[in-house]
Amino acid sequence: MSRILQNTPASEIAATLREAKGYYITNTARDLSQSDFKNRILLHTDMMAAASRDRAGYFSLEITGGASIHVDMMRKQVDPFTKLKLLRKQMPNTMFQTLCRGVNLFGYRPYPQNVIRFTVQQFARYVDVWRTFDFLNHVPNMIAVFEEVATAGKLNEPCICFSTGDEHTNEFYVRKAKEIIDVTGRDITLCIKNHGGLGTPTRVGHLVDSLKQALPDIPVHYHGHNTDGNDVGRIVEAVKNGATIVDGGDSAFTGFYGPPPLLSVIQTLKELGYEAIGIDEEAVIETSDVIRDERKYYQQFESQIKGFQPTVQIHKLPGGAMGSSLEQASKGGFLDKMPDILHKELPRVQKELGNFWSVTPGSQILWTTAVSNVLGEERYGNPSGDLKNLLLGKYGPFPFYRPDNWIYEKVFGSDWQQIVEDEGGADHVADMDLGQERYALAEQLHVEPTDEQLVLYLQHPKDAVDFFKFEEEFGKTHVLPPSIFFKQGGFDIGEKIIFQDFEGKEHLIEMGPSPVTDTGETLVYMNVDHHPTVFNFAPDKEVLQSSQGKELTKEQILDLNRAGDVHSLLSATVVEISVEEGQEIMVGDRIAIMEAMKMQTPIVAEAEGIVTNIYAKAGDVLKPGDRILTIDRDSE
């Protein structure tokens, strides 16, 4: 048996997999980056690994999709298409794989059908394997993606999202699988998406066995996370029971919440008599040797909480959300509340809300609700817009049961039944006028955008434009290694920075002194390719503000808010200021909507009076302690 090469037709891939004696491995580099490094692993590091990864003989390299499209642009300042093109040059043989959220694509809310199709068409030119899921396992939410992938001649890998609990039976999952195959046909790989690393090895083995009994000709791809430290066990049982493809990561970068080290999988299964088809173990080892030294530069993005979390079986957070949840708890100052949130409130909310699958965007809804239930004064007292949409069925029907009426009443008020009747059910998201969108983007860029730029803009309009403007100002910065890109504390005088630009030209920057002038301006001197250069930085007001803000404790902020001087409690972006200066408001009125960690949270007034001054505006990024607005309580 040998490896499957890029450009093999989907039907041939499926046929080869059906006959396979042994198993294949997908290197889930993207999922590893997302779960254990907050999605920050740079293209520079993936490029270092590219040659040996291509030789290693993986079924596929999962390198795009999920939250990475967003983070590529927003935090890594790299064009997700450029990334695929550059990697393809270095990796001519390996299939590239994406993770697609169906109707929620590479974002967090349902997109119009024409946007979904256009997006898949553009990405399908570079992506061979399309792992597609829906957090409610609602098959209609994935159909547009299935169709476009098939039209592009690429391989569909539909998922059944997996979880544990009374409702999560083999029968249910086999029925779901059949429902999917009715749409996609049989030349697919079927993914068991175990995004939390849930269930015991035995449980996963039984599920694979049931699927293979019912659908013997459908190749099964087991995807898991190592949050509890036991995913190798689940993988072994999956393969023993007939799974054809499994996932793992490069050991030099494996952490606690992403995939397990794939070399451990290979070694374990080898002894049991299962061959890793096409795998060149030396190339696998070489990859880790090549990138191992880079890991230290990503330290700030690794989980602050060390160790595996077997309690994932209780809270069920997906690996991809573990890092960001812990980060939010740490930044929000409620790490001490985490045991309560994770082990008591989350499982409770999960049950109350229908026991669906805790994966994007459902995992964010569960998490935000649980956090707000614990930190707020009243459970479900401060519902997010996304929770409302979930309850209204905007994402699709609940798979097992609907939440209880009291939750609806809490969220929507006493006339909740009327609201559900009026607004409930899946919205038909109208097609967007793509010509109009293209024009709007051109207006902002001052040049005609490419189709790929338009796709990125359609996913995340503001962040895409910010990225395009960043690139105009700072160039193609993906050439910078993490040692520079993530440098903390500044460079030393005389430090030499050597890199190649995107055209391959060599450059040298030598850092000079950075004196501060009388007017407070900082002059950063450097020699750029041996030519002296200076950059001026005016004293930064923002820095001053936030350093003042940091002096406020959470209690102080809460006190101020109750007194009508409303400050932000968290690091978040203002989506909307819902009131105007001079407006009279009551306690509990919504005054703003903030967005953090993909979730929108309404801010409600804790004092009544008249809005006197509004300091923040939509689009502002606030830190804890930054002022939003003031309410004058004396004027009645």
Binding site: R40, Q77, F474, Q488, F491, T533, F535
Partner: protein, 480 residues
């Protein structure tokens, strides 16, 4: 004998003149206005005199310049180009004060500065000129003369105010009807603007090439030419790119034009350096335009292909020396291109970028490359003067080699702070009509795509900016 020469100018030409003066073993006296106190020519000169707060008015003030020359004991004044360079009263004042004026006599400057007199001199010498009329007679007679001229040469025709200049007082006439209407209008406008209502007509030469001939003449009457330059790439009569020699593939024509230029200079009793300008139409008809009685901005291209230092010769000629070489010694070798790198935004109608600080100034070099500039890193471009920062002149054995050298130099020339014309010139240097040497004065307007460029800063410059950000903020705020 060692002399002191006052340089009555600023910017790159001041430095160019100072260099020639010092190479001759003389001493250079700079003058400057207050807004120019950070200018480099002050530091390069042997001495420098502040002549006032300006702006511009002191560089144009004959009395102050003469006084500065006397205070410093200067024997001569070199006016450069612009400012007082073609002001006959300035030359006259120098003559009166016994100061050597580096240029032709005040009489020659006055004669050639008056278009009607200049045309008369050239007509008498048999120099081909764009068909035109003398000043039109007043009233109906004038209109009848105009219609008769139109009947003979056809439209379009340019109606010009005799005292106009610099593009002012000119209007295009395309029919008899327009002619009748416009002459009275033009007269009253000219009267208001120039206090002189005389107007005359000139046939319009469509899509001409602008070709000029560099002349050197000594007081003994030896008049030599240094070959042709083509300055067709212009924007609203402002030259942007100049080459030498002309790329017209008709050597007998170019020889004839050079001989005509010498004849024209002799007819005007010309001495010192000058430039005879011609228009050449697509049928190889050529017409005399004017004689510039000063050193030209674009003199560098001629120097590159002849190896003759024009400014050095200007000074020696002004001190009464004869030309030490003959026409047969003037050999044209290869090609040269000059681009005027201006602090302007071509995309924004060449809006000047004055007031901005030159944050990065990284010039180029190597074989066949010449730079005539005056700015430096940290220099704040005064808003009150012209926007020329540096002239880049390249020289090559063949045209292709020269164009390749120009592209290479522009790619390696980095100025950050003000927007410059560098990326615009880079587009021209790569444009096929320019590369084939085929361009006329309509080039800029007929090639709008040369305005399409986006890279105004080098890639490494942009990356360096991010690295500076990461350094200053102590972390990459875009990444965390």
């Amino acid at each position: 004998m060692k002399k002191k020469i006052l340089v009555a100018n600023r910017g790159e030409i001041a430095i160019r003149l100072i260099r020639a003066i010092q190479e001759l073993g003389h001493e250079a006296v700079a003058v400057y206005e207050k807004p120019d106190e950070m200018s480099r020519h002050i530091r390069i000169a042997n001495e420098a005199i502040l002549i006032g707060n300006g702006p511009r008015c002191d560089y144009l003030n004959i009395e102050k310049i003469i006084r500065a020359a006397k205070v410093s004991g200067a024997h001569a004044i070199h006016p450069g180009y612009g400012f007082l360079a073609e002001n006959p009263f300035f030359a006259k004042a120098c003559e009166k004060e016994g100061i050597v004026f580096v240029g032709p006599s005040s009489q020659t400057i006055a004669d050639l500065g008056n278009k009607v007199i200049a045309r008369k001199i050239m007509a008498e010498a048999g120099i081909p000129m764009v068909p035109g009329t003398p000043n039109l007679s007043p009233g109906k007679d004038g209109i009848a003369e105009a219609l008769a001229f139109a009947g003979e040469y056809g439209y379009p025709i340019m109606l010009k105010a005799t005292s106009g200049g610099g593009g002012r007082g000119i209007r295009l006439i395309e029919s008899d009807q327009q002619m009748k209407e416009q002459i009275p209008v033009a007269r009253s406008e000219a009267l208001a603007a120039f206090n002189d209502d005389s107007v005359y007509l000139e046939k319009v030469v469509l899509k001409p090439k602008h070709v000029e001939v560099q002349i050197l003449a000594d007081k003994a009457g030896k008049t030599l030419h240094l070959g042709t330059r083509d300055c067709s790439i212009q924007r609203r009569n402002q030259k942007l790119v100049e080459i030498a020699p002309s790329m017209i593939k008709n050597q007998p024509l170019l020889d004839e034009i050079c001989a005509t230029a010498v004849k024209a200079a002799k007819a005007a009793n010309y001495f010192n350096a000058g430039t005879v300008e011609f228009l050449i139409d697509s049928d190889f008809n050529y017409y005399f335009m004017e004689i510039n009685t000063r050193v030209q901005v674009e003199h560098t291209v001629t120097e590159m292909i002849t190896g003759i230092d024009i400014v050095r010769n200007q000074i020696n000629l002004a001190f009464g020396q004869d030309l030490s070489f003959d026409q047969s010694d003037v050999q044209l070798r290869g090609h040269a291109i000059e681009v005027r790198i201006n602090a302007e935004d071509p995309k924004n109608d060449f809006m000047p970028e004055g007031g901005k600080k030159v944050e990065v100034y990284r010039s180029t070099g190597g074989f066949g490359v010449r730079l005539d500039g005056f700015v430096y890193q940290g220099y704040v471009i005064p808003e009150v003067y012209d926007s020329l920062l540096v002239k880049l002149t390249v020289h090559g054995f063949t045209w292709d080699e020269t164009v390749g050298r120009l592209i290479r130099c522009l790619q390696n020339f980095h100025i950050r702070g003000p927007k410059t014309t560098i990326p615009f010139y880079l587009n021209i240097a790569k444009e096929k009509d320019f590369v084939s040497g085929d361009f006329d004065t309509s080039y800029i307007e007929t090639h709008p795509h040369i305005f399409a460029y986006d890279c105004e800063d080098s890639e490494v410059g942009k990356l360096a900016k991010l690295i500076a950000e990461i350094h200053y903020r102590k972390e990459n705020t875009f990444a965390v």
